[in-house]
């Protein structure tokens, strides 16, 4: 198991729904290696959001194992999972999920506050991360004062600032126009090629998935195809 960033064995997740049980994931086996750029695709209801939540340590599986960077996280407590999210995972959401009242700089600093870093170090790293996504001149702006593309770049900077094992992007271009979407994907490609960053991206758009080096398709809670492609 060593060597892989993500490894799942028979991952299952059931939801009680009224009197019935919905089997969102029926046993997913997955291995993602360092420096991979993976797109997870599938129609709605295929279980890709559930898989995303499990990979992101926001949720725990009903059955099966999940190893993240060599540690089993599927049996961890809430607070242990919080620590894993803080250190290993950088989220990029469809709706950006920035704190509306905070400046770009403070938004990017946030994960470092929970990591317990001293203020000076936090600021240095947040400034660096914002500069790396081309927002060095927008640090004191609040989300409302930024365009959609700029907001998503702040979110990427926030995901990068802790130097996580994986970047987990959930429909990162879902709220953006096509030109801006291309800009964001260019950043992801640079992170993947330039820094060797592992990226897992959930999307339902084939155009976006084309940027990834590997496409995993889910269907009815199981992996239906897993293809590598030339980006």
């Amino acid at each position: 198991m060593s060597g892989s960033v993500i490894r799942t064995i028979g991952l299952k997740r059931d939801y009680p729904m009224g009197g019935e049980v919905v089997h969102a994931l029926r046993g997913v086996d997955l291995e993602i290696l360092p420096n991979e750029f993976v797109a997870i695709m599938g129609p709605s209801g295929s279980g890709k959001s559930t898989l995303m939540n499990l990979i992101g340590c926001l949720d725990t599986p009903t059955a099966g194992q999940y190893w993240l960077a060599g540690t089993e996280v599927s049996r961890m407590t809430d607070d242990e999972l919080a620590r894993v999210r803080n250190r290993q995972i950088g989220f990029v959401f469809q709706t950006f999920n920035l704190l509306p009242r905070a400046t770009s700089l403070h938004n990017v600093e946030l994960p470092l506050i929970y990591a317990g870093l001293p203020a000076r170090e936090r600021r240095r790293r947040a400034v660096e991360a914002l500069a790396s996504v081309g927002l060095g001149d927008r640090m004191d702006h609040k989300p409302a004062e930024l365009s959609g593309g700029q907001r998503q770049r702040v979110a990427i900077a926030r995901a990068l600032v802790t130097e996580p094992s994986i970047i987990l992007a959930d429909e990162p271009t879902g709220n953006l126009d096509s030109t801006t979407s291309e800009e964001i994907m260019k950043i992801f490609e640079e992170l993947y090629r330039g820094r060797g960053q592992t990226i897992v991206m959930v999307t339902h758009e084939a155009d976006i998935a084309r940027h990834a080096a590997r496409v995993i398709t889910l269907h009815d809670g199981v992996v239906s195809s897993d293809k590598r492609q030339a980006a």
């Binding site: 939540n53 607070d79 999210r85 994960p111």
Partner: protein, 413 residues
């Protein structure tokens, strides 16, 4: 998350939602304001009664003998009132007997008072406070003579119609003139002003300088008390022990003079400064008992308001909580954030309440003669109550926030 970070965050939220924050801290504000204002005012009155009032009105190591008690703590029943009315009067002879029984270092004086019409030149007043007094009265009251002199023993033994007046009387009857040597008519009878007493100031806003004192043997006796009757006999000893001895002596003398048998109660009253103080202590005890109730009610109400506002805040900021959790906030980080926010709110209210309470006490001080007694302990308690109420009110909302499922919270619209 470090505590300072949490407090900064809390102030940011308070600033961002000014109106809501104002409402949520008003409970703690009012409660603490009451606490500070009432404690300051009661403490001020306390100091006033102890240092000023009792000393000015009564004097230290001083007691008075009278037919009825001067101050009576508690309710006076009809029966008690009737019993007092049946008591014998005090007479000049009682004064002489007491004077003879006490050691020479004790001061003994008569005071009998009434209101009478005063007139000098074109100026007339119907409500002049006049007293017939004996020699030692000036020393007992610690009256310094500003102009002129006090009565001589001869003037007392001959009942000469002379008068010593207070500053206010001098100013109102003899504006712009030297009062000494002038004539003041009291109830139509002329008295020569021989002295003016130095200004005494006020008690509870009432001037202590509106009096005219004449020898008790002078014609004033027909105004204040006919037939050699005396309102009270005042005794001042040099020491507290001396006063206790004098009280025992006086009681014995009076019992003998009234032919009381051992089983009979005194039919006269001895009043000391202590009686005045214990009367006041009773009032302030009532105030201090009511105070925690008053403060408690406003703090409980304030706490409930804060809890509701915090519950609203948790609901409104569900998404924010989801974001923070996704970035690595643990349960205790979220718990601490909301607890600190709630405590910061109520503590801000408490601090503002302290300022308002002090301002209120200051206003009372400005418009009344009462001094302000700031109690450092009440300020400490005020702040502690503020923090405490906020923490307790915040526990339930903060706990709800901490337990939110990040997946659900992130999807919350």
């Amino acid at each position: 998350m470090p505590i300072l970070e949490a407090i900064r965050l809390a102030f940011g939220t308070i600033r961002a939602q000014k109106l809501k924050s104002f409402f949520s801290l008003i409970g703690a504000f009012i409660g603490v304001m009451f606490l500070i204002a009432v404690v300051s005012i009661v403490k001020g009155m306390d100091r006033y009664v102890q240092e000023d009032f009792a000393a000015k009105i009564f004097g230290i190591n001083t007691f008075s003998v009278s037919r009825r008690p001067g101050f009576h703590a508690g309710e006076v029943s009809q029966a008690l009132r009737r019993a007092w009315a049946r008591r014998p009067q005090l007479y000049w002879d009682d004064y002489h007997a007491i004077r003879a029984a006490l050691p020479p270092q004790d001061l003994v004086a008569i005071q009998s008072s009434n209101q009478a019409e005063g007139q000098a030149g074109a100026k007339t007043s119907s409500f002049l406070q006049v007293s017939g007094v004996s020699q030692d009265f000036f020393q007992i009251r610690d009256y310094e003579i500003a102009d002129g002199r006090v009565f001589s023993p001869e003037e007392i033994s001959h009942g000469v119609n002379v008068v010593v007046i207070g500053r206010d009387v001098a100013d109102s009857f003899f504006t712009g003139q030297d009062p000494v040597g002038q004539t003041l008519r009291i109830a139509g009878f002329p008295y020569t002003v021989i002295g003016v007493v130095q200004k005494q100031g006020t008690v509870f806003g009432i001037s202590l300088d509106r009096f005219a004192l004449a020898p008790y043997t002078s014609p004033i006796k027909t105004v204040v008390n006919p037939r050699k009757v005396v309102d009270e006999i005042i005794v001042k000893a040099p020491t507290l022990a001396g006063m206790r001895d004098a009280m025992d002596q006086v009681e014995a003398v009076m019992r003998t003079r009234h032919h009381l048998r051992p089983y009979q109660d005194d039919d006269f009253s001895l009043t000391t400064q202590q009686d005045v103080l214990s009367f006041w202590a009773k009032i302030s005890r009532v105030l201090y008992t009511a105070l925690p109730l008053l403060v408690g009610v406003s703090l409980v109400v304030g706490g409930i308001v804060i809890m509701n506002i915090m519950l609203m805040a948790v609901a409104e900021r569900t998404r924010e909580i989801g974001i923070r959790k996704s970035l690595g906030a643990r349960r205790r980080d979220i718990l601490a954030q909301f607890l600190v926010e709630s405590a910061t709110l109520s503590t801000t209210g408490a601090v503002l309440g302290i300022l308002a309470g002090l301002a209120l006490a200051r206003i009372v001080q400005a418009v009344s003669p009462l001094p302000m007694g700031v109690s450092p302990l009440s300020i400490v308690i005020g702040v502690a109550l503020g923090v405490g109420v906020g923490m307790i009110a915040g526990v339930y909302p903060a706990n709800r926030a901490a337990k939110l499922d990040p997946v659900v919270a992130l999807r919350y619209e």
